[in-house]
Each structure stands twice: as structure tokens, then as C-alpha cells.
């Protein structure tokens, strides 16, 4: 693939070119997806430097292990974002656990209250997605936001919302399915 075709190449073709050690293909993948990768990581970690480290890690991993991407199993965007989310949550949880050990249980409640407000009010998502989220029942929306943007486990979400764990895990799943339908209807997820 000549260099000038890189810009027009599909995402799977870029990954093939990355497999052949073509840096400009990685640069193009970065141009297309690093904004979303950075935004998600920053949303979770708040700290810009930590988020940048995640971005670096995710793209270097794509460079070294391009075969991990399977186009039959989803888009490159969702592949990169799933890694971004997983890595960010790992960092968040290790930070949180360290902090928790230091601060003891007494402060946890106050922290948790802050998190709910933070996650629900300050969503860093596009307007159309915000609208789609708005059609979800409140319980589903809160569960998804706290899990995805807050980096909480469903058990933590249950504790934060004072709901049974079983209810929360069902709401995350039904909310994601409902959201999919809405986003496909509005053409965003088509």
C-alpha cells in the first residue's frame, strides 16, 4: 500500500500495514482514534498525565501486537476503547485502593457521594449520545454512567445507589441493549 493511500485505507487495512511495521499507518490510526482514547481515559482518570500514559500504552500495544485486533469481532475504535477502559480502570482501582488504605473507611462515603454527582452531571459525551442516554430510565442511566465513566464495579454501583446488586447488573445490561437500539435508530451506531 503506497503511503498516499494510507489516509484512505480502512481501519483493518491500517492494522495490516501496522503489522508490516509501517509507522505512517500507526500515525493514521492515532489521528483517527487517539482523541476518543484520550477523552475516555481522561474522563476516568481525570489526571491528564495519567491519561496520556494510557494513550501511549494503547497505541504502542497496537504497534507491537496488531494481531490482537480481529475485525470479525468489532471495530478498531471499540477494540482500542475497550483496552483504554480496562487499563484506565486498572489504574483507577489501584489508585483508589491505595488511597482507601490510607484514608480508611471513614471517608469512603463522602468520596462516593462526590463520584455519583461527578459521573452523572459532568458527562463528557457528544450531544447526540447525551440525548440517547436521556431516553434511558434513570436507574439504567445512572448504573451505566457510574460503571463506564466512573470506573466502578456493579457491586460498588449498587452500594452507591443503594440498590440490590442483582438489579444493578440487570440494569447495566438492559440499558446497554436499549441504548444500542436508540443509537442505531438515530443512525449513530448504524
Amino acid at each position: 500500500m503506497p503511503a498516499d493511500e494510507i489516509r484512505d485505507a480502512s481501519d483493518p487495512m491500517l492494522v495490516v500495514a501496522i503489522g508490516r511495521y509501517r509507522q505512517e499507518a500507526l500515525a493514521e490510526a492515532y489521528r483517527r482514534h487517539a482523541g476518543a482514547v484520550f477523552a475516555l481515559s481522561r474522563r476516568l482518570l481525570i489526571d491528564r498525565n495519567l491519561a496520556e500514559e494510557v494513550v501511549q500504552e494503547v497505541f504502542l500495544r497496537l504497534w507491537h501486537r496488531p494481531e490482537k485486533f480481529d475485525p470479525d469481532r468489532g471495530s478498531l475504535r471499540s477494540f482500542l476503547l475497550a483496552q483504554t477502559h480496562g487499563r484506565s480502570v486498572d489504574i483507577l482501582r489501584s489508585e483508589v485502593s491505595r488511597r482507601r488504605r490510607e484514608e480508611r473507611d471513614a471517608r469512603e462515603t463522602a468520596e462516593a457521594d462526590y463520584d455519583i454527582e461527578h459521573a452523572v452531571v459532568d458527562m463528557a459525551v457528544a450531544d447526540d449520545v447525551r440525548q440517547a442516554m436521556a431516553v434511558l430510565p434513570v436507574g439504567e442511566r445512572a448504573a451505566i454512567e457510574l460503571a463506564y465513566f466512573g470506573g466502578h464495579t456493579y457491586r460498588e454501583v449498587a452500594a452507591l445507589l443503594d440498590e440490590p446488586e442483582g438489579t444493578v447488573k440487570s440494569r447495566i445490561r438492559s440499558g446497554l441493549r436499549r441504548l444500542r437500539t436508540v443509537l442505531v435508530d438515530t443512525g449513530i451506531g448504524a
Binding site: 511495521y21 505512517e24 492515532y30 504502542l60 480481529d70 471495530s75 476503547l81 480496562g86 456493579y154 446497554l176
Partner: protein, 255 residues
């Protein structure tokens, strides 16, 4: 608390939370093991992740300073196999391999045998191989048509490649703009773990033009500047930065 004896229904109910990294570690391990053997649950998780990816969508710009750090780290990565260094985005010396040989006029083909092989860690038989096959299938007609058009172009450089016994053959055609094609005619399919690799041989260096796989089809490459010969070698899967193998087929550019 969940234990390791999950019913299928228990697992299904956790798939949404799992897709958002919102399960505990022990649950994650159980679900991952289950997914390996359950395509339906796997498809559901993939669907949830696609949805989540839409939620994450944001207009934020990619941080440029981070790209600079990534690009720096790539320089320490395994050596480029193909045309990366021939068409660099940033100014960089072309990746050429110095030829430790005084007289080269008679020994261009022998040059192929001079270098220590450096195996690279990419497995052509892995997922990337499959991905490549899928895309190659889509692109095949376009590449083949372009190659046949080039073969008919009188301005193009035409080189016949042949094996010592004359059985294996291939043809290279290169247009004045540097776009080239390898058209294999009779290259036997290689066993698992082996791949063909195409090289441009110059008087001072030998440049990899790409790893061709075990059963090469018409392949495009890019190479600017004079070339003395083209050679195809048989290498370990993933290709090598420098080859010490005799070429399977070789052809000299007519002066």
C-alpha cells in the same frame, strides 16, 4: 458472593457489567473462560463494547505531544521489514543494509546470503494473517488489475525472476513512479511457519520489499531509485530484517 459455579444464566446476566469492566476479578476470570467456548455470549459482549465505544465518542483532539513520544518509542521497536523507511513521513535516513563486500558486480545474488538473519516477532499465521487474507481477497482484483496494466506499460522496468532449476518463476514490474508489483507465476506453497520475502538488491544494500506469505498472490510494493536485482527468499514466518538464505528466485535488472 459469586463462586466459580456459575450457571449460564448467571454469566449472561453479568455480560453487560463485564463489557464495562465492572465485575470483580474472580467473576471476570470465570466469564473470560466461558466466552472462549460460547460464541453467543462473546457476540453479546462485543455488541456491548461497540455501544460503549459510541458513548465514549468525543470531539477531543488527539494529543500531539503523546504522538511524539510514541514515535520516539517506535525507533526502538524491531526493525522495519518493508517500505516504511523508504517513504518516511518525517525526514529519516532510508533503512538500508550496508553490504560488506568489495566487489559486487558479479555477486549481487550472493549478497542475499551474506547477512545474519534476525527473526521478527510477528506471526504471519496468526490473526493478522487471517485479517490480511480477508483484505487481500477484497483488494485482489484491484491489485491484479493494476499489475496487469503495469505489465503492459512500455515505460515500466520488467524483470523475470527464476530459480536455479528454472521451475520457479515470478515477474517484477516497476513503474517510473516507484510503484511495483510482484507477479508470482510458479512459486510452490510453503509449509506452515515459512513465508516468502521479496528483496530489492542494490550494489550497496539489500532492501526488504515485504513479506509475501506462504502462497503469494500479486503483491504491490514501492521502491524508488536504481535496483540491480530482485530476489525472493524463503524465511521463517514473520520475515527477517536480513537474510542469509539463497534466493528461491532471482532476476537481474537489464542495464
Amino acid at each position: 458472593m459469586m463462586s466459580t459455579n456459575f450457571s449460564h444464566q448467571d454469566i449472561v446476566e453479568l455480560l453487560g457489567a463485564f463489557a464495562l469492566d465492572a465485575v470483580d476479578d474472580d467473576e471476570r476470570d470465570v466469564i473470560e473462560a466461558h466466552l472462549a467456548g460460547c460464541p453467543r455470549c462473546r457476540a453479546e459482549v462485543e455488541g456491548h463494547r461497540e455501544t460503549a465505544a459510541l458513548l465514549a465518542h468525543s470531539g477531543e483532539r488527539a494529543p500531539e505531544n503523546v504522538w511524539d513520544r510514541i514515535a520516539e518509542a517506535l525507533d526502538e521497536a524491531p526493525p522495519a521489514l518493508d517500505l516504511t523507511r523508504l517513504t518516511p513521513r518525517r525526514p529519516a535516513a532510508p533503512r538500508t543494509i550496508p553490504l560488506r563486500m568489495a566487489a559486487v558486480t558479479m555477486a549481487v545474488a550472493a549478497a542475499v546470503t551474506l547477512f545474519l538473519g534476525v527473526a521478527l516477532g510477528r506471526n504471519d499465521d496468526g490473526r493478522l494473517g487471517r485479517l490480511e487474507e480477508q483484505i487481500t481477497a477484497l483488494q485482489k482484483p484491484a491489485v491484479a488489475n493494476a499489475a496487469y496494466a503495469a505489465l503492459a506499460d512500455p515505460k515500466a522496468e520488467h524483470v523475470e525472476l527464476a530459480s536455479v532449476d528454472g521451475k520457479g518463476t515470478a515477474r517484477v514490474v516497476r513503474l517510473p513512479d516507484g510503484t511495483g508489483y510482484l507477479v508470482p507465476a510458479n512459486l510452490p506453497k510453503l509449509p506452515a511457519g515459512r513465508v516468502y520475502q521479496l528483496w530489492a538488491v542494490r550494489s550497496d544494500a539489500k532492501i526488504s520489499l515485504g513479506v509475501l506469505g506462504a502462497a503469494p498472490e500479486v503483491t504491490a510494493f514501492r521502491m524508488n531509485g536504481p535496483v540491480a536485482a530482485y530476489a525472493v527468499t524463503d524465511e521463517a514466518a514473520g520475515g527477517v530484517a536480513q537474510s542469509q538464505n539463497q534466493p528461491v528466485v532471482v532476476g537481474y535488472v537489464k542495464a
